[in-house]
């Protein structure tokens, strides 16, 4: 696994498979876009980019980096009138960025918090503040 998270300073969660990463990436893109077609397309684009970078070798793909790419393109989705999400994912989608993507990354439970903080360009304390605010916004939106 390559990428910026190989330092000892970052706590490692238990290993997961490439399959888990792809599913988690899809969830993030789906919450960001509100459309499964757009999410699938985004996952493909992000994977293609990652494959290009690693000379088409899945073993060398920076899977954590996929989420950074997804976070960076969070505002690139066209606003869709046909939101296919329901229940909590739909409420999650209704949050403004970057709250939406940050909270989703937190809920995906696939990346260490330090890496989520790095992706969102914040400290761990700022990340905690964002999560708290986003969680409150989520609860309010649900009411």
């Amino acid at each position: 696994m390559s990428g910026p998270i190989e330092g000892d300073s970052i706590c490692r969660l238990n290993p997961v498979s490439a399959y888990d990463y792809i599913q988690a990436l899809y969830r993030l893109c789906l919450v960001q876009s509100g459309s499964d077609t757009a999410a699938e397309s985004a996952v493909r684009d992000i994977l293609v980019e990652a494959f290009k970078t690693t000379n088409r070798d899945l073993a060398n793909v920076d899977f954590d980096g996929l989420f950074r790419a997804a976070f960076q393109r969070r505002d690139s989705y066209a606003k869709t009138a046909d939101n296919q999400l329901t229940d909590w994912p739909r409420v999650l989608h209704s949050l403004p960025e970057p709250q939406r993507s940050t909270l989703t990354l937190f809920y995906l439970e696939i990346l260490p918090l330090a890496f989520v903080a790095e992706i969102t360009s914040s400290s761990i304390e700022q990340l905690a503040d964002t999560i708290r605010e986003a969680r409150s916004a989520l609860a309010r939106a649900r009411q």
Binding site: M1, I5, E6, C11, R12, L13, N14, P15, V16, S17, A18, Y19, D20, Y21, I22, Q23, A24, Y26, R27, L30, V31, E40, V43, R44, L47, V48, F51, K52, R56, D57, L58, A59, F63, D64, L85, D87, W88, P89, L92, T104, F106, Y107, L108, E109, I110, L111, P112, L113, A114, F115, I124, E125, L127, A128, D129, I131, R132, R135, L138, A139
Partner: protein, 292 residues
């Protein structure tokens, strides 16, 4: 201040060193512990619903194929088979997430199956299939119409009649050397009333007989002009033959080819060894010579 990090506490992040102080604080403060418990319950519901969002195996396979087509087959095991085996060195994530995928919740199964895309034919393929079907149907209808136009009711019985002559030795006949026209009298003696087309009136006959064929009386005549001929004469109703008066039809048997017509209530068949075209030429020649 460790309490600032409370919002980040989740069971899955229990080993995160940044949260150690916050966790200790929560353990030592009952009031904070209750708040934390409520927070975790709230988050669990959302996490569970998020996990329900998943690409079906079919869509992952499709994605994998797209990547393989565009960028070559990945060197590592396919993504779709990855959950149990392909854990990448250095990969990080939650054990819970791994378990979720490796041992999918049975309750999710029907939903995932619903999501699986059925293979669909392209519109072009569908149109092509419909086109081929239509063309085949039109050809079939055309063939049936053509077959009916080139046939008539009772043609099969005529074919049988022609084939019945294959085993004749000649001994079955009574020598009657006259002209075909004069055969009327001979047939009258046999109590049959057969009429011969005028174009065959002058043909020399060699032998005749009347025999039973499918319970019908059939007159059979051996004749000769420029070739050996065999005539059959019978009441068309007896053998279920329906043909317009004066019109000639050609029927092919195993050895003989027959020209069939109906004249004054008699079905007349002239036959010889040959093919359809030869009979066509023969009948045309006969018609010409009769008109002269």
């Amino acid at each position: 201040m460790p309490t600032r990090l409370f919002p980040l506490i989740r069971p899955v992040y229990k080993n995160e060193p940044e949260l150690e102080l916050a966790r200790t604080e929560a353990r030592n403060n009952a009031e904070l512990g209750v708040v934390l418990e409520r927070q975790i319950d709230f988050d669990n519901e959302i996490v569970d619903q998020l996990r329900m969002l998943a690409l079906s195996d079919a869509r992952i396979e499709k994605l994998e194929n797209t990547l393989a087509e565009d960028y070559g087959q990945p060197a590592q095991p396919p993504i779709i088979t990855a959950p149990a085996t392909a854990q990448l060195p250095g990969a990080i994530g939650s054990a819970r997430a791994a378990q979720t995928v490796a041992q999918p919740d049975p309750e999710k199964k029907p939903e995932e199956e619903e999501e699986e895309e059925q293979p669909r034919a392209r519109p072009l393929t569908i149109f092509f299939a419909i086109g081929v079907g239509l063309i085949a149907t039109i050809c079939l209808i055309g063939y049936i119409v053509w077959d009916q136009m080139n046939s008539f009711q009772g043609a099969d019985r005529i074919t049988d009649l022609l084939n019945s002559a294959n085993g004749l030795t000649g001994d079955e006949f009574e020598a009657v050397q006259t002209t075909t026209d004069s055969l009327k009298d001979w047939f009258l003696l046999k109590n049959e009333h057969f009429t011969v087309p005028k174009e065959f009136a002058a043909t020399r006959t060699i032998a005749c007989r009347v025999f039973q064929f499918h319970n019908a009386d059939v007159g059979q005549v051996m004749a000769k002009d420029d070739r050996e001929l065999l005539y059959f004469l019978f009441d068309p109703a007896d053998l279920g033959v329906q043909l317009k008066g004066g019109k000639w039809e050609i029927v092919e048997g195993e050895r003989l080819v027959g020209g069939v017509t109906v004249v004054e209530g008699t079905c007349f068949v002239v036959a010889f060894r040959g093919k359809h075209d030869e009979m066509q030429t023969y009948l045309a020649k006969r018609a010409t010579s009769a008109n002269q």
